[in-house]
Assembly symmetry: C2
Homo-oligomer: 545 residues x 2
């Protein structure tokens, strides 16, 4: 009989970050990893180190800063939590496995995760390998991984469409070579809960040696069944679940962490499983990932959507407490959805700001605090009360921006129904010069973007443009997320899918003036694009153009 503890393996920073445009900066990834540690996940898959030097570096920083016990005297709230395992993904290729080890080795509990497809269709068309070649490759590469790292996870890709007898044989080989976790992915999101539960039960029943390993499940949501399939896996004996915050990921995404956590919590009598998750952190982590990935959450999304607890209003209003029993299966407080509304005002000092940020889980360095406090005072002059959500938007905007080749120095806009929206933009460039350009456009944002394009000249397509008011009232900060695509930045390999994609870059900006926020978001995406093409790295302090 297996134990009842279900391990949460979060792959927001690997499979989630592969969503088009969800690219995060290293600083953003580190902040997400810290918040995942606070949330209490057992394993953080921090990235795919072989993908690029940037990815390797991000994994390395997370391994060092989140994968180790805190230093003495450091009293940030993050440090009370257990230290999570830090994991790096690798194809069954020597270089991938060595890079993954390079990334995670500084963590106190490192893991290497390697994978190879076992279905006929993948072996024949994608890998062009025979069964024997696949078995040999698994033996060789799991052995290599285990020689570097004590904790090795192996995934047979497209397990659902593999011949069961061959699948058991591959898994047995991986176990024999030292794999300690065996992860079963439903790669294309095709199975039903019944089928997926049977697949897991069959593997547990038929694979020699599996009783000493943890069986893991990794589902995709193409048919809206990821959560149900994951729960079916748990009922069949899986004790690790691979999930992402808000269910982000390629195509329709991965299993949503918050749904599996709350199903296990709400239906404890049915599943009888425990987890290490602090449910009250869920809403905060959801918001953080939504900001940094630029993928906003639908109002009716289970658990973390804006409306998920919307019947609350009516209940409190008429005081019919009886309704709590009749219509509620969980309390918003349980997932941390009740935020303090009004926390600070124009008379709050720098110490109060630092204290509040600590309570919110942000460890702000002294230099950053100075900049943040300046922005805070500017905002407090404009807006009567500052909420936690406002503070979190300020942090995202102020502290987690990519390297700024071009910086917004001034913007002036005139628009309205008279029909000639005009924007004048002044950017401070890598040449240490101010560049000014005025443009007319179909609207104020179009005009401003045209002016930016005239200065920076980095051709791209705008894929998505969304503006949100952060909280109640339009006097709150507006948050803008954009996604741009550029052929100049080359292509990327999706890790588990190995499909080349044009590179897309997400940008984020926040300001009480949404046109200013829009320009900041565009610049943030463009700066990521410029970092990828490297055109201003080589040019040094040359003129912008």
């Amino acid at each position: 009989m297996v134990d009842s503890y279900v391990r949460f393996f979060d792959t927001t920073l690997r499979d989630g970050e592969q969503s088009p445009g969800a690219t995060m900066t290293s600083a953003e990834k580190l902040e997400v990893a810290r918040s995942l540690a606070r949330l209490g996940v057992d394993v953080i898959e921090a990235g795919f180190p072989a993908a690029s030097p940037d990815d390797l570096e991000a994994v390395r920083r997370i391994a060092i800063e989140v994968g180790n016990p805190p230093h003495k005297g450091d009293n940030s709230p993050a440090d009370g939590s257990r230290v999570p395992i830090i994991c790096g993904l690798a194809r069954t290729i020597t270089n991938d496995i060595e890079r993954a080890w390079e990334g995670v080795q500084s963590a106190s509990r490192p893991r290497i995760h390697t994978f190879l497809a076992t279905s006929e269709i993948h072996m024949q068309y994608k890998l062009k390998m025979t069964r024997q070649q696949v078995l040999d490759k698994v033996r060789e590469m799991v052995t290599l991984a285990r020689s570097l790292c004590e904790d090795v996870e192996f995934s047979p890709e497209d397990a659902g469409r593999s011949d069961p007898a061959f699948l058991y044989q591959v898994l047995e080989e991986a176990i024999r070579c030292g794999a300690t976790t065996l992860n079963i992915p439903d790669t294309v999101g095709y199975t039903t809960p019944e089928e997926f539960g049977a697949l897991i039960a069959g593997i547990i029943h038929n694979t020699p040696g599996i009783e000493n390993c943890i069986v893991s499940v990794h589902c995709h949501n193409d048919l809206g069944l990821a959560t149900a399939n994951t729960l079916a896996g748990i009922q069949a004996g899986a004790r690790q679940v691979e999930v992402t915050v808000n269910g982000i990921g390629e195509r329709a995404g991965n299993t949503a962490l918050e749904e599996v956590v709350m199903a296990l919590y709400t239906r404890h009598a049915t599943f009888n499983c425990s987890t290490g998750i602090d449910t009250t952190q869920i809403t905060r982590v959801s918001k953080l990932v939504s900001n940094y990935s630029g993928i906003s959450v639908q109002a009716n999304k289970a658990i973390v959507g804006a409306n998920a607890f919307s019947h609350e209003a009516g209940i409190h209003q008429d005081g019919m407490l009886k309704h709590q029993l009749t219509y509620e299966i969980m309390r918003p407080e349980t997932v941390g959805a009740k935020q303090t509304r009004l926390v600070m005002g124009k008379h709050s000092g720098r110490h109060a700001l630092k204290q509040r940020m600590l309570e919110l889980g942000y460890r702000i360095e002294e230099d950053d605090l100075v900049r943040l406090f300046e922005r805070f005072k500017l905002l407090a002059d404009k807006k009567k009360g500052i909420t936690d959500a406002d503070l979190e938007a300020l942090v995202s905007d102020e502290l987690y921006q990519p390297k700024e080749y071009f910086k917004l120095d001034g913007l002036q806009v005139a628009c309205g129904t008279m029909g000639m929206p005009t924007a004048t933009v002044r950017l401070f460039g890598p040449d240490n010069q101010a560049h000014v350009h005025a443009s007319v456009g179909t609207g104020p944002v179009d005009a401003a973007y045209k002016a930016v394009d005239a200065i920076i000249q980095a051709p791209n397509d705008l894929l998505e443009f969304v503006i949100h008011a952060v909280t109640e009232g339009i006097d709150a900060i507006g948050e803008v997320t954009v996604r741009i695509e550029s052929s100049a930045a080359g292509q990327v390999i999706g890790a588990q899918s190995e499909v080349d994609q044009l590179r897309t870059f997400g940008g984020y900006g926040a300001d009480t003036d949404i046109i200013v926020a829009s320009v900041k978001a565009y610049l943030s995406a463009l700066n990521k694009l410029l970092a990828a093409t490297g055109q201003y790295e080589t040019a040094g302090a040359a003129a912008a153009h």
Copy 2:
């Protein structure tokens, strides 16, 4: 053995419209109903006629215009489809049932849907009724409904937490009194697929007379399991599914129509069920409902999210057709996700516009066409190519607005980093006068909204504010949706939950200038609020303030 045809009962216009702020105008509801008919749903639950005279009127119009075969000579594409059943919801109250009948009776195939809770917790705390009283009420009210209408659906609310023996007894009574469809709701979204399948199987096995009825399932998504529960219901023998487009609805929403359709389609060999749905209409209906309800769809939402088919790009790029087999379980074309990119330009004439609108499924009256064509020409002057999405945004903005007490007559905005965003607004009021006001704000939208508030003086709280660029490129039309809440407009009863809520109003605006679109959206929501309070109805042509 039951047949293999699964009926789709769409409740977007009833349970979906109960989402906070998803309130639609009658014209919007009619357009959604038309598109649902084109999609091929079997039953349209058009509303809850007893809720308000507006609701009754909307159901009546849908019954007449969508619930009947087309007139001769009318060649709009909508008319090729089967005529759906039009259904109205009613509590087990005489007045509710009579209003429901009043609403649906003009349809060629009308249905009354009535419900009563059967769980101990609901009977004791909410209804304060004994088992015998519940049985008597069901007998009385189903008999009444059947005396008016041949097609009667009955739902035992909170069936999942009811004593099975009592549940079977209630259902047997409903059947004896003439109910033809028995709908089993998982009211609080609490069950697992296994449990819900067993509940349906138990009902089918133990309820005398049920073999001559259709068993229906109605699931909620609080734990992310609505689709899996619905499919488990089908496997247990249910042959009607109650769903909403995009899964909208109270709290975390209802089962998403598109997920159940595509699971049955993609996994036909497993479920072996047929439907009347034309899958190629899914993306278009999803977009329409998203626009009118103001509830936007998450990028990684299954089937209809912007990223649902995002691996496409890479595939086409390198021409590796083999990947279609390895990573794809459905084609974007199947759900109509491949829109024609560039369809019209500045040289397109009025006939071409009308023709294209017909192809898109919009039946535009001659008067409306004149206004639409004006807007089209204005847009074509600003933007190089007009896409289908642009056209659909124009229709939403131009044709489906509420009664306009106040109309935007002029707007002038100055903003930027200099820090004094200023807006001057000119509104044309119900007194036939122009009202002008200038305000400064924290941003351009805040300034404009303050100016509007100074003129209209209808206190409200802004709950949500979102801007989307319609398609690629920021020179496309920007769409703004807002939700406001006001205590002045009174409270509403949620139908199936019977919880009072403060009234919220959604507004929609589209323009190439997002500040103009923002003001239009706010005016659209305010006009709905003014209609609800009736303050300008009584005041007649009195001065605006």
